[in-house]
Amino acid sequence: MIGERYINGLVLAGFLAVPIWALAMDEPFTITLATRASVLAMAAVGLNIALGIGGLVSLGHAVFFGLGGYAMGILAHHAQTHAALDLGFLAIEGSRSMPVIWITAVTVSALAALLIGLLSLRTTGVYFIMITLAFGQMFFFFSISWSAYGGEDGLSIYVRNGFPGLDTLVPIQFFGLCFTALCAALLLHWRLRASPFGMALNAARQVPRRVETVGLNPMRLKLLAFVVSGAVTGLAGALFADLNRFVSPTMFSWQLSGELIVLIIIGGVGRLMGPVIGAALFVALEHFLGGLTDFWHVWLGAILLLIVLFARGGLIGILTGKDGPRV
């Protein structure tokens, strides 16, 4: 059995090594794959804060991913059409600057998470799963029927947005940016988990009544976790949109919410690196199996089923021999 720390170190090293190797071999597509994995991993790291520590089974995290994506899409769209977003009482200029877009994405998704969390956390269990799913569908259908930003067809952004001092169109530079953001999200998860807040949240997942009887409010702990979680996933959404230079309602789809949970489960729920391993594996499977057969989702389904039925701790659980947190 291998210690979790070594696994974590190996995974991060691997994540860096692959694109560097690809750069040396001049294979930009591999770098793009690594970027895609980083961004998906980051989205799942966000969800893992709510799901893995707080035990909140959100089947609607695509809301935040999509909001982040549309924050990018809408700002960049207004910048590329040179028309301000007119809200009547205030006109918002578009932007091509990643930092501006990121701040917007984080703010908007955090606010949405606050609102959705306030309403959803009144319920528990299956009802929570269903109400988060319903919020996801609300945003999905809204984005489809709202034609100002492309409706069902989505919105294309022709040039990737800029970051001071970087040429984001160079794959390795954009990878560096996304990888750094992923590391920041991991750092946040790691510190949060060990902090008093994380400890209380982790206990609120296991025994909410105990947390109450020591004088803490489990609802507030979970709500804050949900907000932080939504904000991280939102930022990942903005990066994802920039990676593809395209946003569409599929970023809000419930399949995406499901896939984010899948990434976490494959790696190991509640584990720091669970989402990262899951995302790397997911992107690798998508690329290799998808190249071999059109029906690679069958194999993904089979793997997922085996993990759920026989390996509750995901890959990290298998490697470390420890089951990890139960959600």
Partner: protein
């Protein structure tokens, strides 16, 4: 806006509602009795539709197609229950969500493998096609009317089954107390398989019936599945009565919202903006309805207190 249009739309809403009920009844029974969230219920709907389309294509008989849909969905349900689902009854909700999500992937891609990506078509039989004249000069498609009838019939049968028969009493006892019913000598594992297969058959039937007015294709189950979830959450998970009322509410809200909300907004907006806002809002209406119900009653209209 004429009265005829309104009545037509109400009928459309009812038709949609009773079809949702066929899905929701199975879901809510499976959750109420076994405590299982089954995301793959939409796949059974799809299995029913494909079986019906294949058999109708081969034999030309709509009745045989419906029987095939029931049989195929029930078989698929039984196999899935025995191989996968029964390991999940005592598992966490997250495991159930994921395992049944995995089943969706397998079912969808498997169906694509067998039938290809192109949609199949299932024709309405001659004796049910064409419009029928209703009192008040309304012309309404006979088939849709038949769907409403079929749905109501199933609802009545289900009510009779769960409240008046031995098996229904066992099912309801199973909801309340697993140990008790096991102690009474009922084979609980067989009962569960039976309930699951029954739910699957209903989903398959719904798939076949709706398949005749829409195209039969991979992925057709999930939108209906999610709406069926909305239904049972509104109605209160585990309650057949709640599922019925929830189905009609959702069916009517969705159908009428789509037609009348844009009209409503035209009263105080210009036409373009009203159509835009109205249809955007209408597409979200059922989810807004669900959130409002849950905020008001966190366990649904007829749900037991958690």
């Amino acid at each position: 806006m004429s009265a005829i249009l309104i009545i037509e739309q109400v009928l459309n809403g009812l038709q949609f509602g009773v079809m949702l009920f066929l899905m929701a009844a199975g879901l809510t029974l499976i959750f109420g009795v076994m405590g299982l969230i089954n995301l793959a219920h939409g796949s059974l709907y799809m299995v029913g539709a494909f079986a019906a389309a294949a058999v109708a294509g081969a034999t030309g008989s709509f009745v045989l197609a419906l029987i095939a849909a029931l049989a195929a969905a029930a078989c698929a349900g039984t196999i899935v229950e025995i191989v996968v689902i029964r390991r999940l009854y005592r598992a966490a909700h997250l495991d159930q969500v994921l395992a049944t999500f995995a089943l969706i992937l397998i079912f969808s891609e498997g169906t694509r493998w067998v039938f290809g990506s192109f949609p199949l078509f299932l024709d309405i039989p001659d004796y049910l096609s064409g419009p029928i004249a209703l009192p008040g000069g309304i012309e309404y498609p006979l088939y849709r009317l038949a769907l409403i009838g079929a749905g109501v019939l199933v609802a009545v049968e289900l009510w009779w089954l769960t409240s008046r028969t031995r098996i229904g009493i066992q099912i309801r006892a199973g909801e309340n107390d697993r140990e008790m019913i096991a102690a009474l000598g009922v084979d609980i594992s067989r009962l569960y398989t039976l309930v699951f297969a029954m739910g699957a058959a209903l989903a398959g039937l719904a798939g076949a019936l709706v398949g005749a007015i829409q195209s039969v294709q991979v992925g057709m189950g999930e939108p209906v599945l999610i709406l069926a979830f909305v239904v049972i959450v509104i109605g209160g998970i585990g309650s057949i009565k709640g599922a019925f009322i929830g189905s009609l509410l959702v069916g009517l809200t969705d159908t009428l919202g789509g037609v009348f909300l844009p009209e409503l907004f035209k009263v105080f907006m210009d036409v373009g903006a009203a159509t835009q806002t109205g249809s955007a809002l209408a597409s979200m209406a059922v989810y807004i309805l669900m959130s409002v119900v849950l905020i008001w009653r966190p366990t649904g209209l007829f749900g037991m207190r958690a």
